[in-house]
């Protein structure tokens, strides 16, 4: 009915191998994130933990949730949703992380 197309791709059948690969990646990364937390890296502990979490989340979204094979529209909405959350974080942090420095 509408002008959209390419929707057939949404229902791509993903080979089991890909699922198992993501599963292994998630498991290994869980171990890595725990092990890294035992090493004192200062502020980098948080950074590493978050990078690992983001990598895991991307793997789940892309493969388990089939976004890698989804049409542009679905991808746009997924990316937009997370971006919007980031905007909330950044603008609130703009207040909280600056209060002390400027003395207000």
């Amino acid at each position: 009915m509408s002008a959209q197309n390419g929707s057939g791709e949404t229902h791509h059948i993903v080979p089991v191998k890909a699922y198992l690969g993501v599963f292994a990646f998630l498991m290994v990364m869980t171990v890595v994130t725990v092990v890294v937390s035992w090493v004192d890296l200062g502020i980098f502990n948080t950074l590493v933990a978050m990078l690992i979490a983001v990598a895991k989340a991307i793997a789940v979204v892309m493969i388990f949730m089939h976004v890698r094979w989804a049409n542009k529209l679905a991808r746009l909405f997924v990316a937009g949703g997370f971006f919007w959350l980031l905007l909330l974080f950044v603008l609130v942090m703009m207040d909280y992380f600056q209060r002390a420095t400027l003395g207000f």
Partner: protein
């Protein structure tokens, strides 16, 4: 779109006459009937909110607090705000006109999820009943903003029940937004590309984005307040290490964009009215379309302008101030383009057009005074005064409600199959415009002179302007009673409406009878021309002159 009204088959049952049973209404999944159900519900809420507004103006007639106890006055303005914002303005245009018209305008037989659409109405009802029962039990006095720690720790009124009602009704607006986005993406008629969509649809698309991105945040904020109030665990209470300003951040992350939930659909209506009544394509159609989405996007980044005098950091205040000025650009584009559309149009002075003229003027005043308030320095002076009250009433009442009434008159023949009595409608449009300005313009001056909002008493030197404002409110109330009367009267005695009484463009006018049948179209319409393809030769003349 070349089909003329005469070819539309008549005498088939329409969506109103297909089934008369009460069950067929309460279990309907027809977007048109759900629109009507919403129209009835929000009209009742508007009546209630209006009565509360009347009580506020009654108290403010005299400087001393002689009508209500201060506590009761607090409850009255709180309930006026809660009812008007969450239960009238937010669902007003989207849930009624939007619900009714979006499928018709895009050539679809219904919204993508008709049952979810009905569910959203029931959720709205549950939320409304919860909030109204809180009022019946004794009301709430926090202001519609529910600021912490007053709401979470100190207020002894029915905060939880009211907040629960607001929380619940939020989900009805999420579901409406979700439904609209999917519908507009997936259900458009063949040939109806994005840049052929009526601007009404663009406005609702932008609104829906805000509904799904913003509403969940206010929901979780209310949840946090509830946890704090119920379990004393301290998210916002300074005594427990919490920060009340965090509440304001989360609350305004939704509630500033919510202003655009209220005004963007009105802007969509405005574009339709002006195009149809001046018989011209909307000037700079693409820019107006994109500016709707731009308003929705930038509108999310400006919420800190409500917090200049909280303990928000100076740096954040600067950024929010700058971004607030930025959001005025797409709004101004719209106003300029409507004006340019009117230029050399064959502008009719019919009722919908009177409301459209009113909208342009009042929204411009409301928008420009918003810029006063988004300037950090000036806001320190204006914050929490009647200047703010006047500003947002110019946008909400002068903008959103004018558009709602204009749209209601414009599509009334389509929705009900009846014409209203035009002379009376014109008179009441003028009455509303005059009454509105008399009510709220004095409040700009009062606020500038320093009269704070939310007090039941005030120094004597403010009385003259307050009396003017109350007098205006009386005129405004009478003005609103007129449409309520003659529109209801027209249902029974009104002239039968033809399919296209305004001779307007658009699938809802050209391809569907008035009122439309249950599934809107016998065959899915095909679209071969852009929106608002009115008399092209006239447009050329304008370009060359």
């Amino acid at each position: 779109m070349s089909t003329v009204s005469s070819t539309i088959p008549e005498a088939k049952p329409n969506y109103l006459t297909s089934d008369f049973s009460i069950k067929s209404w309460l279990l309907t999944t027809d977007h048109k009937r759900i629109g009507i159900l919403y129209l009835i519900s929000i009209s009742l809420m508007f009546l209630l909110g209006g009565i509360l507004a009347g009580l506020i103006r009654l108290e403010l007639l005299t400087p001393t607090g002689d009508v209500f106890q201060p506590e009761n006055y607090n409850k009255i303005f709180t309930m006026h705000g809660v009812v008007m914002i969450f239960f009238f303005l937010i669902p007003s245009i989207p849930a009624t006109l939007g619900n009714f018209l979006i499928p018709l305008m895009i050539g679809a037989r219904d919204l993508a999820f008709p049952r979810i659409n009905l569910l959203s109405w029931y959720i709205y009802l549950v939320g409304g009943v919860l909030t109204l029962s809180a009022m019946a039990l004794g009301g709430v006095d926090t202001g519609w903003t529910f600021y912490t720690p007053y709401s979470s720790t100190y207020s002894n009124t029915y905060v939880m029940l009211t907040a629960l009602g607001v929380f619940v009704s939020g989900f009805s607006s999420i579901l409406t937004g979700l439904n609209f986005i999917v519908t507009i993406h997936r259900m458009r008629a063949p040939g109806l590309t994005w840049f052929r969509l009526p601007l009404f649809v663009w406005g609702h698309y932008a609104t829906s984005l805000i509904m799904i991105l913003g509403t969940p945040v206010v929901a979780v904020t209310i949840l946090l307040v509830a946890l704090e109030r119920g379990l004393r665990i301290g998210f916002f209470d300074p005594a427990l290490g919490g920060d009340p300003v965090l509440f304001q951040h989360l609350f305004w992350f939704y509630s500033h964009p919510a202003v655009y939930i209220m005004i963007l659909p009105g802007m969509g209506v405005q574009s339709e009215l002006i195009a149809a009544m001046s018989r011209k394509k909307v000037f700079g159609y693409e820019v107006v379309a994109i500016s709707s989405v731009a308003i929705a996007v930038i509108g999310f980044l400006v919420w800190g302008h409500h917090m200049f005098v909280s303990s928000q950091s100076w740096y954040a205040g600067l950024v929010f101030s700058f971004l607030s000025f930025l959001v005025a650009v797409p709004s101004a584009i719209k106003v300029f383009n409507w004006t340019a559309t009117l230029y050399r149009g064959s502008n009719a002075f019919l009722t919908p057009m009177l409301y459209a003229y009113g909208f342009i003027g009042l929204f411009t005043i409301g928008g420009l005074t918003g810029l006063f308030l988004s300037a950090m320095g000036l806001d320190v002076h204006m914050h929490d005064t009647y200047f703010v009250v006047a500003h947002f009433h110019y946008v909400m009442v002068g903008g959103a409600i004018m558009a709602f009434l204009g749209g209601l008159h414009f599509w009334w023949p389509k929705m009900t199959g009846r014409m209203y009595y035009e002379p009376l409608a014109r008179l009441s449009a003028v009455l509303i415009f005059v009454g509105f300005n008399l009510t709220f313009f004095p409040q700009f001056i009062l606020g500038y002179l320093g009269m704070p909002r939310r007090y039941h008493a005030y120094p004597e030197e403010f009385q003259v302007l307050n009396v003017l404002s109350t007098a205006g409110a009386t005129v405004l109330a009478i003005g609103y009673l007129f449409p309520a009367t003659y529109l209801l009267y027209s249902l029974f005695k009104g002239e039968k409406a033809p399919a296209n009484p305004w001779n307007a463009k658009g699938l809802e006018w050209e391809q569907a009878p008035s009122p439309p049948p249950t599934f809107n179209f016998d065959h899915t319409p095909e679209v071969h021309e852009p929106a608002y393809a009115y008399a092209p030769e006239k447009e050329k003349e304008v370009v060359h002159s």
